[in-house]
């Protein structure tokens, strides 16, 4: 059943597969983001309560969703590297961490810029904001650990274990922060309700979300390729590859 997957355990096959995938993902993401962002900025209606500041939503929510799904993807990759000894899996975990950190930072920054006009402050110790901040710390820890090792094989495994420990802890952290927040703070902040979104707001959001998701895929492909060639630099196919100029 899983036999079709086996060739991809070979670094060379995966390298070329990622190389083939890269332009498709990149161009599709560029197209979707162009259409989606122009739609979001120019044509989508303003929110009846929040006015034009609602347009931040179209980057804030996609990056917040992606920041969590990338962590999950990283942990799954780390698990398959540790349990089934898939050696390429920890390469993909290492490739994903910086991307996740960037999207977490975007979610936090846009959240702050949205919170200032809506809530009157750049930052509130709201449960969702706080757990997003802790998620950023977890990402930075994984990246720092990965950079601390010279041997990238070892670095990938160590960072993978940390990612797994983090993924077990994330629900606990999220729960504890939510609980802490309700205990320490009254409902001074009127949270955004979740009314059914109008379709003219929904479609630009879907386009932006898919665009950002494909962008993550494209960047991950390049980082994955980098990880593969640095880990296999003694192999003849890598040597032929780097001395010939074409990709």
């Amino acid at each position: 059943m899983w036999k079709w997957l086996h060739p991809y355990a070979n670094p060379e096959v995966s390298y070329h597969f990622a190389g083939k995938l890269k332009p498709w993902l990149g161009w599709a993401s560029a197209l979707l983001l162009t259409v989606g962002l122009i739609w979001a900025l120019l044509f989508a209606p303003a929110d009846y309560q929040q006015g034009e500041s609602f347009r931040i939503f179209y980057i804030h929510v996609p990056s917040a969703i992606l920041s969590m799904s990338i962590y999950l993807a990283m942990a799954i990759a780390a698990l398959s590297s540790l349990v089934w000894q898939v050696r390429l899996a920890d390469a993909s975990a290492a490739a994903l961490a910086p991307i996740g950190a960037v999207f977490t930072a975007i979610a936090l920054l846009t959240g702050a810029a949205w919170g200032k006009p809506m809530w009157g402050t750049w930052w509130v110790w709201d449960a969702r904001l706080t757990s997003e901040l802790i998620l950023l710390f977890l990402y930075l820890g994984v990246i720092a650990l990965h950079n601390a090792f010279d041997d990238k094989q070892m670095a990938g495994k160590a960072a993978g274990i940390l990612a797994l420990v983090g993924v077990i802890n994330l629900p606990i952290i999220k729960y504890s922060v939510e609980w802490w927040n309700t205990l320490h703070q009254g409902a001074t902040v009127s949270k955004l309700g979740a009314p059914a979104m109008a379709s003219e707001m929904y479609w630009p959001f879907v386009l932006c979300f898919l665009g950002f998701g494909l962008l993550v895929g494209a960047v991950a492909c390049v980082r994955f390729q980098t990880e593969i060639i640095t880990r296999n630099k003694m192999r003849p196919w890598v040597r032929n590859l780097v001395t010939s100029e074409v990709n």
Partner: protein
């Protein structure tokens, strides 16, 4: 080949670690001294008002305990890694779980337990309300082992790294947040004369969860870092 029971292995490793620690008493006392000094810095920075201090006392004590634990974690596996005895443990027929559990227990006995013993004195310095003392004691009793368990994972991951100290704090501190939240909230609740069983139960759950899972993670991490 002599076959040691799990209990004997555990006792042997524990005794060995304690003996080594008692030969370097200052290394054992330094984190404790750090804990006391950090706690005394807060009133100097904030001001001597009794009600302000009483309000933030649980947070101060717990944050200082986190930092003191971090300070002692760096050398949990370092000496064993440097002299090669860590590799001996990894290739020995006894399960790794027992070794790591024994080492973490020793670490807790040497750093967590002294913290619990001096905490009441520091709580008095910070005017902690009397009804909170039992909560402080119980949260420290259940919470400091969790700090040792989670910290051991970080220490095992960074044991092969040359300057691992700061990296270790970066990795471990975010994972300490749930313990900090529930412990301080238990002490706060106790100061209002309300039941704090719920928070205590969650800390106990964290304790048993980390007791069963952390030694495996530590074992896997040690295998990676010793290669």
């Amino acid at each position: 080949m002599s076959s040691l029971s799990y209990r004997q292995t555990f006792a042997l490793v524990l005794k060995r670690d304690l003996t080594i620690a008692f030969r370097h008493k200052d290394e054992m006392l330094n984190p404790l001294l750090f804990f006391i000094i950090v706690v005394t810095l807060f009133p100097l920075g904030i001001g001597p008002q009794a009600n302000t201090l009483a309000k933030i006392a649980p947070g101060i004590i717990w944050v200082s305990a986190l930092l003191a634990t971090l300070l002692s974690l760096d050398r949990l596996f370092k000496a064993d890694h440097n002299d090669g005895s860590l590799e001996q443990m990894l290739i020995s027929p006894q399960p790794l779980f027992i070794f790591t559990l024994a080492k973490i227990t020793a670490h807790w006995l040497l750093t967590g337990l002294p913290l619990i013993l001096v905490a009441p004195i520091l709580a008095a310095l910070l005017y902690l309300p009397e009804q909170s003392y039992s909560a402080l004691f119980l949260t420290l009793l259940l919470g400091t082992p969790v700090l040792s368990f989670i910290g051991a994972i970080g220490a095992a991951l960074t044991v092969g790294v040359k300057k691992g100290g700061v990296l270790l704090s970066l990795i471990v501190l975010p994972l300490y947040i749930p313990v900090l939240i529930f412990a301080t909230s238990a002490i706060d609740t106790a100061s209002l004369n309300l039941p704090y069983n719920g928070q205590l139960a969650i800390i106990a759950a964290l304790f048993f969860g980390s007791l069963t899972l952390a030694p495996f993670a530590v074992g896997a991490a040690l295998k990676v870092s010793t290669n």
